[in-house]
């Protein structure tokens, strides 16, 4: 932390992420849907590992309950029935 190109940029970002995660939780969305990790541009393998891990975890949580597309699809299906 604090080794950002924008100096304290990641320190500030980290505060916002903490706040947003708590606020999402309060709004009814799992905080795990938002994740922040610090990976340098020289750490490609770690970047891949982080993103893959996130995708895996997010799949376990299931689709976004606020997805507009999904809501539209279910409306269409109801109309068909």
């Amino acid at each position: 932390m604090g080794e950002c190109h924008y100096q304290s940029g990641n320190v500030m970002a980290n505060k916002r992420m903490t706040l947003l995660q708590k606020l999402l939780e309060f709004s009814g969305l799992h905080a795990d849907r938002l994740r922040v990790r610090w990976v340098s541009s020289a750490e490609a393998a770690e970047y891949v590992r982080e993103v893959s891990g996130f995708v895996e975890d997010i799949k376990k949580l299931g689709p976004n309950p606020l997805s507009v597309k999904r809501a539209m699809r279910s409306v269409r299906n109801e109309q068909k029935d």
């Binding site: 604090g2 100096q7 916002r16 706040l19 999402l24 309060f26 009814g28 969305l29």
Partner: protein, 264 residues
Amino acid sequence: MSKKIKETVRTLLVEGKIRGFLGLIERDGHVMPHLFGDPQELEHLSLGDHGRAGDARYPLNQILIQLMRAYPEETFAVLVRGCDERGLRELFKWQQLREEKVIPIGLGCPEELARACECEKPFPDNLLDGPKGEKVEGQKVARVNAMDIDARLRFWKAEFDRCIKCLGCRNICPMCFCKECTLEEANLIDSGEIPPANPTFHLVRAIHMVGRCIDCGLCEEACPADIPLRTLYKKVAEIVSEEFGYKTGYTVDEKSPFNIIEVK
């Protein structure tokens, strides 16, 4: 109850210590903000109680900002409750008002109002009149905290779905002083859409209230759709207090953790 306040303001006006007193006046059965320049007008002074305690409050600090932009060299007195005093402190820090040009006239809130507000500190430190009430333990946030996560989502979705995007919550806010507002930025918030993006629209405002919201509750009073905005902003205050140890408006020298640029 207003006797002490009237006397103090009258003295300030007569001695020429202030250009005016920004308070509330009752005229033709209506309570409205007023800049008292003449001591004789003080007989119509109102403290914001009309039908119920504190049911005719206005964002006086917002008007004060406009006044002081127009008359930067003048000194004004302003009626403040506990929340307004917290607001003044933050507005000094944000350099929207100059402390040496503002004389707060402190009014404590009656228990009835403090309870309705679930107010943590229903009196200003600079208390001139009114009671020095006790802290009220809040239930609003606790009730939502107690729901399971899916119930919370349903709760907020239903509340935010009633939003007609009138921007009344922002317009009445004494702490909203930005010249450009994210809520009107077409690249971030779609225009012509009602309700506005749910819950993004309200969460954006909630995030922007960090280190600003002083829990006056005017947003919730102004909301024509009865959205429990205060519960949302009280939660933001709870998070900022628990995670970062900052309580908005309670100190004069400390800045919001979201305003401090930490260089290590």
